[in-house]
């Protein structure tokens, strides 16, 4: 890494925005993407025609041309996709930071919308993705068809190796639900007790219903701007101090992965921390991708907040709740706010670092971390500061 170009503090998140989150909508993915984009651009104090770079969600049906058409963009200078499933939004921050740090673009829009799940349930969406071809041939015909099932083999392995328990997974689910109660946008605000968690039906062992994220319709967007224009924008800038993406071994088949419990983010984390020049103790708030409860526990290990195998114990005793040592998913996460593929995690972290989160604000949050996880183990993280 010696001599590598560093993206540290070369880019800021200048604007964030979202739509209403719901289980169903009659609006299109494109309409939701554009509505969220307009909100983020307005938040930054920009006009849509100021956008000169676009990164649409890699797994969606939205392309850069849609933004040129709808915003009347005169000169889109940069477009890319980061097709890493739920790791795409955070990986897009790296790509956007590269674009503005090099001067290729000044304001890069990263946007994501998800339409109604009706007619597009998870198994159908998954089977159509090119990175799912191999499991589509070798695992789906045998009864492994959805992320809950793919990841259940990893979670079981973690339990066998390290003694991780469903009690510990319940801590993650209940923490997210408690935080969602302080978030008016959250889809699930009804209190969840330990009894509720254990009474819920099983989905794919060890995952029960409340270990699984929501399926949602809605959109989120962020604008990444060059450091040079940071001070001219409407909001206080939130700086991207460190950012990196990582891919696991055997990325398209968990079954063949030498260590099922090591995600791609394990490779990215040391790079992002070194780039940001901060230690784990400096992180005031963390928005951790939570498609399943156990995925949070395993990422906390791979990020280095605790040793491999100690993630279960780490989430006990209120450590990850507001007021704890490392508050996570202050918006409620994918488990209780909405599943906007983790773009909502970036939005929340930016608002936390601006001090805009009201009742759920982490006091004096200066440095925060956001992760993405997806496509059977890809990962990305960004460390940001105010």
């Amino acid at each position: 890494m010696a001599g590598a170009f560093s993206l540290a503090d070369k880019a800021v998140v200048s604007g964030v925005g979202e739509t209403v989150f719901a289980r169903e909508t009659n609006r299109s993915q494109l309409a939701l993407t554009l509505e969220a984009s307009l909100a983020a651009i307005a938040d930054a104090g920009l006009d849509p025609k100021d956008i000169d770079g676009v990164i649409p969600y890699g797994a969606g049906g939205i392309v850069a041309e849609d933004f040129i058409t709808n915003f009347g963009l005169p000169d889109l200078r940069y477009s890319a996709t980061t097709p890493m499933g739920g790791a795409s939004p955070v990986a897009a921050l790296q790509s956007a930071a590269m674009a503005v740090a090099t001067g290729v673009a000044r304001h890069v829009l990263v946007a994501l919308g998800r339409g109604s799940i009706a007619g597009g349930r998870i198994t159908k969406r998954l089977a159509e993705m090119p990175q799912m071809r191999i499991v589509g041939e070798f695992e789906m015909p045998l009864g492994t068809n959805a992320p809950a099932q793919f990841y259940a083999h990893m979670a079981r392995r973690h339990m066998l190796l390290y003694g991780t328990t469903r009690e510990q997974m319940a801590e993650v689910a209940m923490t997210c639900r408690r935080h969602a109660q302080m978030n008016e946008r959250a889809m699930m605000r009804k209190p969840m007790t330990r009894e509720d968690y254990f009474a819920a039906r099983m989905i794919a062992e060890p995952f029960g219903l409340f270990d699984c994220s929501l399926e949602s319709a809605g959109g989120c967007a962020v604008v990444v701007s060059s450091a040079a224009c940071a001070r001219d924008l409407r909001q206080a800038p939130v700086w991207i101090g460190g950012v990196a993406e990582g891919h696991p071994d055997s990325p398209s088949a968990i079954t063949q992965r030498p260590d099922m419990t090591r995600f791609g983010i394990a490779k990215a984390a040391p790079k992002a921390f070194a780039m940001a020049g901060v230690s784990h103790a400096d992180i005031d708030v963390a928005e951790i991708y939570d498609c399943f409860t156990w995925v949070v526990i395993n990422q906390l290990e791979d990020l280095g907040f605790c040793a491999k195998g100690e993630g279960g114990a780490f989430v006990e005793g209120g450590r990850i709740g507001l007021g704890g040592e490392l508050p996570i998913n202050t918006h409620g996460g994918l488990l209780s706010e909405a599943h906007i593929a983790g773009m909502n995690h970036i939005v929340e972290l930016v608002r936390q670092l601006r001090g805009q989160c009201g009742e759920r604000q982490v006091a004096d949050a200066e440095v925060g971390l956001v992760t993405g996880f997806g496509d059977l183990g890809d990962g990305a993280l960004a460390i940001m500061h105010r």
Binding site: A127, G143, L160, I203
Partner: protein, 143 residues
């Protein structure tokens, strides 16, 4: 919503490209036939065009021992694909094959409650129809 069993779709079928046929042909003959690098001999599964050790594209197919040990498992309760609605709950296991790679398949004739990591298993074969045979897993001594 009530659905009659007769209206449920079948489970998804593999659509192997030509290069993967020897694996599926092997299953039809009730043999476990995997891809191996013809230059350096590295066994690989799932099949792919290139050996990641020596970068050779020359492949051969060889029968391996249809046995291994339990690596991990799950019990599916929710039928994510309607083709498995008749089967829930069902247990799917990940097996460390004796020769090094892994295989995932449904467990037959045993309860997930009895499973422990490292248990010895054998790979067996289930003929779906004339064209398709799928692997399954049985605990050693319970076959």
């Amino acid at each position: 919503m009530t659905e009659h069993a007769s209206q449920l779709p079948e489970p998804p079928r593999p659509e192997p490209p030509l290069e993967h046929r020897p694996y599926w042909d092997g299953l039809r003959e009730h043999r476990l036939v995997l891809q191996r690098c013809a230059r350096c001999g590295k066994l690989r599964h799932y099949p792919r065009p290139l050996c990641d050790a020596c970068y050779s594209m020359d492949v051969e197919w060889s029968e391996v021992e249809a046995r291994g040990t339990l690596h991990s498992w799950t019990v599916t309760h929710h039928p994510f694909h309607p083709g498995f609605k008749r089967q829930v709950p069902y247990c799917t296991v990940t097996v460390d094959l004796a020769e090094g790679v892994r295989l995932q398949a449904p467990l037959r004739d045993a309860s997930a409650a009895a499973l422990e990591p490292g248990m010895a298993v054998t790979i067996d074969y289930e003929d779906i129809d004339a064209e398709l045979t799928l692997p399954c897993v049985r605990l050693v001594g319970r076959a």
